[in-house]
Symmetry: C2
Subunit: 114 residues, 2 copies
DNA sequence: CCTATAGTTCACCTTATGGAGAACTATCAG
DNA sequence: CTGATAGTTCTCCATAAGGTGAACTATAGG
């Protein structure tokens, strides 16, 4: 089953936290430094760095260190990948012509189990 | 900040688990019972029921008990809501005309801090 | 009534998550 | 060289997640 997709696991998990979603939204407006990103949040730097690591390991952002400054930028491909999964489910739902048929087949099978 | 959206928190969290995504995909083909849903998975019923509760509390599915049978169905609105958030971010990214401008303003501010 | 079926609840375990503070490292500015 | 700045790492803590097995409840059928 193509349903075990680690990329989706970690992407959706990363997206489940409001701090991390806010980081993503901030990065939509351009790459910036850790300090800059962390500034609006009421948590300590160590905690914030954990969020960044979750985002980076999920592939939603990428970072690069130059001198003592780490710059973070958005990696839109993963975002799109998550969106694609959701869009596909919606498409299947909307297509759903076979929903009733499947229901009938399930509730009134032609060959009940012995 | 409209970024603290409990609905998105719980929806994305629910979507982060492959078992729960598989349940959603199963429900695309029509409502069914707990037993039916649980059958393909290698985990015990109590663990599976926890997954169902996460899905239900996130608003991604709805359930209804008749007699001793609980029927689960997909609630596509939440799915769409999550998709909408992602789509919006992508739209903002693709619009991103001000990305360079913001970068310049950040890296070369007109009034550096004293 | 009796029993299999469908869920449910309970106590428990292990690991992950999100946060804290303190101490440390590496660089840039003067 | 000497700070100040920007990250980083460390240990610790509380809670949430995901799983287990055993015991329990409530129907539906025969």
């Amino acid at each position: 089953m193509e349903n075990y997709q680690p990329a989706l696991n970690s992407a959706f998990h990363a997206l489940a936290d409001p701090t991390r979603r806010a980081v993503i939204q901030r990065l939509l407006r351009g790459a910036t430094t850790v300090k800059n990103l962390a500034e609006p949040f009421p948590i300590g730097l160590p905690a914030f760095l954990k969020h960044l690591r979750v985002l980076e390991e999920s592939g939603l952002i990428a970072t690069q260190k130059t001198g003592r400054i780490r710059t973070c930028r958005l990696e839109p491909r993963r975002l799109q990948q998550a969106e694609a999964w959701l869009a596909e489910q919606r498409a299947l739902w909307e297509a759903g012509a076979d929903r009733l048929a499947a229901y009938v087949e399930r509730e009134m099978p032609e060959e009940p189990k012995p």
